[in-house]
Amino acid sequence: MTRNQKIKLYLFLFLLTAAAFFAILFPRLTLPFGFAYIMFLMTKPLTLRLTTGSRRQRLGYFFLVLLGAGFLFFPVIATMYSADFSSLTDQLPDAQRSLQEKFFAFKVMVFQRTGFRLNVDPVSFVMSKIETHGTDLLSSFPNYLSLLLEWVILVPIFLYFFFMESRQFSRRLLEAIPNPIFEKSYVLFSQFNTKFGEYIIAKFIEATLLGTIVTLGLVLIGFPYAFLLGFIAGVTNILPYIGPVLGIIPALVVAFLAKDPSVSMVGMLVVFALANLIDMILVFPLLVSKIVNLHPIVVIVSIIVGSQLAGVVGMIVVIPFVAFFKLLFKEIYKDLSVQL
């Protein structure tokens, strides 16, 4: 390697490390950037041909995606779930009363059977905790609002950049890669993009299917808050292993607190079991399994680390990143074992 090539290589590696540090140090920029990239990757398979068209065509398509996302998602979600939300907040005092009654009955039963008087009041304790968290949430609401506004402005800007400039950008990036590491970097970069895009789309489809099945099932058995519970089940299902457990908790709480005898705990459990069974037997093997091949322990540890680093977004995107690093280390190890 000549001196110039060495300088080019080291400079490239330095820039790469600096970019990684920048991404970790400024999550307020990295997260909307990542979100826009995910949206771009999700729409990319459908727009493969359109995005290779002229600038005007691509610009048109960008606005179409933006409008479509706005028109489709926001009103549908807002109207569907606002009713569930308002009735849930209306019924919170009732729920507290019902919990207290149930706990009182439990205390009486313990006293009658053992003669031991329980002097704790976990229901009031939990309720006061919920109230304090609620007020905390309300007091930090302006912060969340400003963050939301930031995202509303930043995500479309980044998305615009991806739609209009992604080809030129990837071309410039490939140009900058020095010859000695070009082949490997290009292949890894392409594999990461494909894996990441496929994973996000697969998870999105999986979550939508599971959410729809749960919602329909709960509507059929006449379970309250069917839309909200179905939505929660769908969203939590994005997380492997932990997701299905997290998704069923709100439904369990609703079934436990319900006074109406028509609200069936067994029916709800059957709906969730059926939905997860369909997911495990049909959706997962067809869509997700070929993309991510990681040990369950690795997946769980990665989700925890992801949540520590970048919250909910981190929990979702950490899996393809880990799959990519596994691939990267395998490649490096393979190379070293030949050279040694």
Partner: protein, 203 residues
């Protein structure tokens, strides 16, 4: 001005060339037309049509194929790949020349024994494109300032997705090269075995 000339002049001026070979549609169609005899320079069309792997491609197929190629420039004596490296790509020599060395000893930076000098329009590294875990069987070094056109595994996958007929055609041509090399190797093995047998009988 021809594309090759443009590239070489850019290299001489020390300017970097684009990563992708992006030939404008009109320019390509003009080159492919019968009227192109008016210009004396060699066109891209001529360049690609004279490459044996692409000889069965129609003009439009060649044009589409060039969209998947990467343009990489190498200085004289720069290593393109070393024996034992993981291989992912197949290269055509656009300009310049490449020296191929084999039987690397693994001591220092000695490339090994000189095998062949590849010139303009010749190609190398096709195994890297087809094999799943390919290791380069020889070291390739630029014999002079060289421009290579490379196609790599992700490009082939994309080509098969976007233009399946073109992808299948290219795979068939690559398989033919491999089959020819296999046939050549088999013939060499047969000759060598014959010689060993003769030597055994003499001894």
């Amino acid at each position: 001005m021809s594309y090759e000339k443009e590239m070489i002049e850019k290299l001489e001026r020390g300017e970097s060339v684009n990563d992708r070979l992006d030939i404008p549609l009109l320019r390509y169609l003009w080159d492919a037309s019968p009227l192109s005899f008016i210009t004396t320079r060699e066109s891209y069309h001529d360049f690609f049509k004279k490459i044996t792997v692409l000889s069965s491609f129609s003009d439009n197929e060649v044009r589409l194929f060039t969209k998947f190629l990467h343009l990489r420039e190498f200085q004289m004596n720069e290593v393109i790949f070393k024996q034992g490296d993981s291989g992912y790509g197949f290269y055509f020599i656009f300009s310049g020349a490449v020296n191929v060395y084999a039987n690397q000893t693994g001591v220092g930076f000695e490339p090994g024994e000189f095998v062949i000098k590849l010139e303009k329009r010749q190609y190398f590294g096709e195994m890297g494109l087809l094999e799943e875990f390919n290791r380069r069987s020889a070291t390739s070094i630029a014999a002079e300032n060289t421009i290579l056109l490379g196609i790599f595994k992700p490009d082939l996958e994309r080509m098969l997705e976007q233009y399946p007929v073109l992808g299948a055609k290219f795979l068939r041509e690559t398989a033919l090269i491999m089959a020819n090399r296999m046939g050549q190797l088999t013939r060499e093995i047969v000759t060598l075995k014959k010689r060993v047998h003769e030597m055994d009988q003499k001894a």
